[in-house]
């Protein structure tokens, strides 16, 4: 008999969830792959909190905690670990672990003892953190592991890992496997690994639930966790991305005209970085240690001065304010959408260099609104972007870029935390950018589907280029999370 930690029986919250049956045992890692995002938030909320259900029963450790007749909004012992860390950055690691917890009964803080206890916990995980190290000074991987320990100390029945590949590098993902295995097998912790990529899920989990449109569409046991079976569920992706004619445009690329050059760049963890992006080329810069991409994006976007080296654009100084350059930070559906502007203004506000008197000429804007109606609906000038979901806002960002027609686009992790259908849409946008002659630089800590739109993969190590692969060599790269073009 296996000890069951969580069980959901026929749980329904229309229109988000329909007849969800799911069970998790103690000491196992189970993956949940959302082919689309519908219902994932609600499902995770059900794990955390006993919210009102349309129908169904929820059991935690074999005790009925929620059903359609008696929802009391109480919390379940579940920890969610996602991009936004639950640790307090200005406090030390041991304070976060031992002081900031519900059952802490200590009135006098014995710093040395806490330090020793912390080392005892970290030792089996192969980590060492100095006593009194502040959380802000540790790496994102260490933060992740500290959160596991915090969940363990809080006796969480379940730890949900949500989209961790968006902030943990490929190298760290590989290091994570033995840690998760130790915590699940030795400490009996249960993990629900929520992600969008089956390669990533298969790497960690022993079982896997596939979800689409708020339904569990397949429960995969270990013997079924293969690419062949997944392809039957993600055939739309294969047909529109992997097998379609779009692959032709990436066949061979002549690298003649140089557009962007990073020359002996030194800044923060960036250590003598040399990189050239050519015209009409898409380059993926994989920061497999998660050390430099944010610093590099700051250098490009905020006009910071590098300690050494230069950034040249068309042989001149790089000016991010130019309309021929577009910089897309992580989560652009939040950071690049202005809620005080209407949907139409959000779409058009970087196109003023293309259309004269755009802001004064209402006829121009009405004509453009008419053209955009098919994708974004009617009455765009009256619509508030915050009324729409993530997919719509993401579409707005990339449509704005299409209208702006930049020559160079730098994007950070474009496929992070988006479902399969959104990824397909993003890929079609990147195809359009390429067809219009834009050069694209993708900064990533994990590949996701970046290689589907890339001509070249540049892998960084210790802040500099380690090696690079061209499209016909991509199969030589063995990453954990991501698809490789056929």
């Amino acid at each position: 008999m296996r000890e069951e930690v969580f069980r959901l029986e026929q749980v329904s919250i229309p229109p988000f969830l329909h007849d969800i049956h799911l069970h998790l045992y103690r000491g196992e890692i189970v993956a949940l792959i959302g082919l689309n995002a519908l219902g994932i938030d609600e499902l995770l909320e059900i794990f955390q909190k006993n919210i009102a259900l349309h129908y169904g029963h929820v059991y935690c450790k074999n005790v009925l905690v929620n059903d359609y007749l008696s929802s009391n909004n109480s919390q379940n012992p579940v920890t969610i670990i996602e991009r936004n860390s639950m640790l307090i950055e200005s406090m030390s690691v041991e304070d976060n672990l031992f002081i900031l917890r519900k059952r802490s009964k200590q009135h006098v803080i014995h710093s040395k003892m806490l330090g020793r206890q912390m080392q005892t916990l970290l030792e089996p995980l192969g980590l060492f953190i100095e006593q009194k190290t502040l959380v802000k000074d540790i790496t994102s991987f260490e933060k992740l592991v500290i959160q596991f320990l915090k969940a363990s100390l809080a006796h969480s029945s379940l730890v949900i890992l949500r989209d961790i590949s968006t902030f943990v590098s490929e190298v760290d993902l590989a290091r994570l496997k033995p840690i998760l295995t130790y915590l699940s097998k030795e400490k009996g912790m249960t993990f629900l690994y929520v992600c969008n990529h089956h390669q990533e899920a298969f790497h960690f989990a022993s079982r896997c639930y596939l979800m689409r449109e708020g339904r569990i569409i397949k429960h995969l046991y270990a013997d079924q966790m293969t690419d062949a079976i997944i392809n039957c569920y993600a055939n739309e992706f294969a047909e529109s991305v992997e097998l379609s004619d779009r692959q032709q445009q990436y066949r061979q690329h002549s690298q003649i005209d140089e557009l962007l050059r990073l020359h002996h760049l030194v800044y923060g963890n960036i250590n003598n970085l040399d990189l050239v992006v050519h015209k009409e080329e898409t380059v993926v810069l994989l920061d497999s240690e998660n050390l430099v991409i944010h610093q590099l994006f700051d250098l490009l976007g905020k006009n910071y001065l590098a300690y050494e080296g230069t950034i040249a654009y068309r042989g001149k100084h790089f000016r991010p304010s130019s309309r021929s350059i577009a910089l897309v930070p992580p989560k652009p559906d939040v950071s690049l959408i202005f809620p005080q502007l209407s949907v139409l203004d959000n779409l058009l506000f970087t196109s003023d260099h293309k259309i004269s008197n755009l802001w004064f000429n209402i006829h121009h804007r009405s004509a453009l609104a008419g053209e955009l109606e098919q994708k974004f609906g009617t009455h765009l000038a009256e619509k508030d972007p915050s009324d729409f979901d993530q997919a719509y806002r993401l579409r707005m960002v990339y449509q704005r870029l299409l209208l702006q027609k930049p020559e160079f686009i730098c994007v950070v992790q474009p496929f992070a935390s988006v479902d399969m259908y959104q990824r397909m849409e993003l890929i079609s946008y990147f195809d359009l950018f390429k067809q219009r002659g834009s050069s694209i630089l993708i900064l990533a800590v994990s590949l996701s589907d970046s290689l589907q739109i890339a001509d070249r993969l540049v892998i960084l190590k210790e802040g500099r280029v380690h090696h690079q692969l061209y499209r016909n060599e991509f199969s030589q790269y063995h990453g954990i999370a991501g698809s490789i073009p056929m």
Partner: protein, 340 residues
């Protein structure tokens, strides 16, 4: 009075009386204040406090129970639940309680159980006299008799008679998992005479002693109809080898059996119809005599729910080219009678 106060009707009446009295009292006090018989307007605060109290009280005593009853009625109407309407803690009125009691009698579990069981036996019998089934079985016997020795004919005949005996003779509701698995293997063995090694059965136990698990009690004819469905609708139409997997796992209180095939799978619309039939409860299928696919699954699902409760039963997932999974959730019980 206290007994009658459990009805929503009475609560609404009491609230109306209270509010009417409060309004009358407020008017009286206002009149007295106007005539300077009361010096201070403090009574307004008292009236406000009573009104606030009435609002809070009516939210918890009237609105919430009403919302709950309404939700239960919606679920009953859509077929999600039968029991909850009978156990309604705050019914609308006494007549509603009487109506629920009548409904309970109509939904008498034993009667439906018998009808459902008869339906299961009928389906099984129908298969036995199904010309194709009989023809194929006899064809198997004949060809075996012609080509080989009498041993295999004897084995096959024995399998067939064991299957008939298990299906018809035993009248109890619950059997051990071992008996049910034996019958399923027997059925599969008969089918293998037709399909040869093209179909294979794999049974696996996860996480517990096999011997222990085999003693658990499950409704009779739970597995065989599902396996039959997998063969007829999944593996028969498949080109090449087909596999059928039965996976058994247990938790503290549940026995989970997953029957999975790697056959042709179901189209989405058929799957949706099936899922809808399984998630809601209706006994319409007992009356129907047309040859509709999936009746056996609905029957098994309803029998499990009738025997053990609404939280148990079947779930189906399927995909063209991948196959079909039927997951059965049952209570972990070794006793003779289920915990219903």
């Amino acid at each position: 009075m206290a007994k009658r106060a459990r009805y929503l009707e009475m609560r609404v009446l009491l609230l109306a009386l209270f509010l009417t009295s409060l309004i009358m009292l407020s008017l009286l006090l206002a009149l007295l204040y106007r005539q300077n018989r009361i010096a201070s307007p403090v009574f307004l605060l008292l009236v406000a406090a009573f009104t606030f109290g009435a609002a809070i009280g009516s939210y918890y005593a009237i609105y919430l129970p009403y919302a709950r009853t309404k939700h239960i009625m919606q679920l009953f109407a859509s077929g999600y639940t039968f029991n909850a309407i009978v156990d309604d803690k705050v019914p609308l009125n006494r007549e509603m309680v009487d109506l629920n009691k009548t409904l309970e009698t109509l939904l008498n579990t034993d009667q439906i159980m018998n009808a459902s069981k008869r339906q299961a036996q009928f389906l099984a019998l129908q298969n036995q006299i199904n010309p194709h089934f009989l023809y194929n079985t006899l064809e198997g016997i004949r060809s075996e008799a012609l080509l080989a020795g009498l041993d295999s004919v004897a084995t096959m005949t024995e399998a067939l008679s064991t299957f008939f005996r298990y299906t018809i003779s035993n009248v109890e509701n619950l059997v051990s998992l071992q008996q049910e698995l034996e019958n399923t293997k027997n059925y599969f063995f008969i089918q293998q005479f037709r399909f040869g090694n093209r179909i294979k059965l794999h049974i696996s136990f996860d996480g517990e002693q096999e011997h222990e698990v085999l003693q658990y009690r499950i409704p009779k004819l739970t597995l065989q109809p599902i396996v039959e469905n997998c063969i007829v609708h999944g593996l028969e139409c498949k080109v090449g080898e087909g596999n059928l997997y039965i996976r058994i796992e247990t938790s503290q209180s549940r026995l989970f059996i997953t029957v999975r095939d790697d056959g042709v799978g179901m189209p989405d619309d058929v799957l949706q119809q099936m899922q809808s039939k399984l998630s809601t409860r209706s006994f319409d299928y007992v009356k129907r005599d047309e040859h509709q696919g999936g009746i056996a699954l609905v029957n098994v699902n309803n029998r499990i729910k009738l025997l053990f409760g609404e939280q148990y039963g079947l779930t189906v997932t399927s995909r063209i080219g991948v196959g079909t999974d039927v997951a059965i959730s049952l209570p972990r019980s070794k006793g003779e009678e289920p915990v219903s």
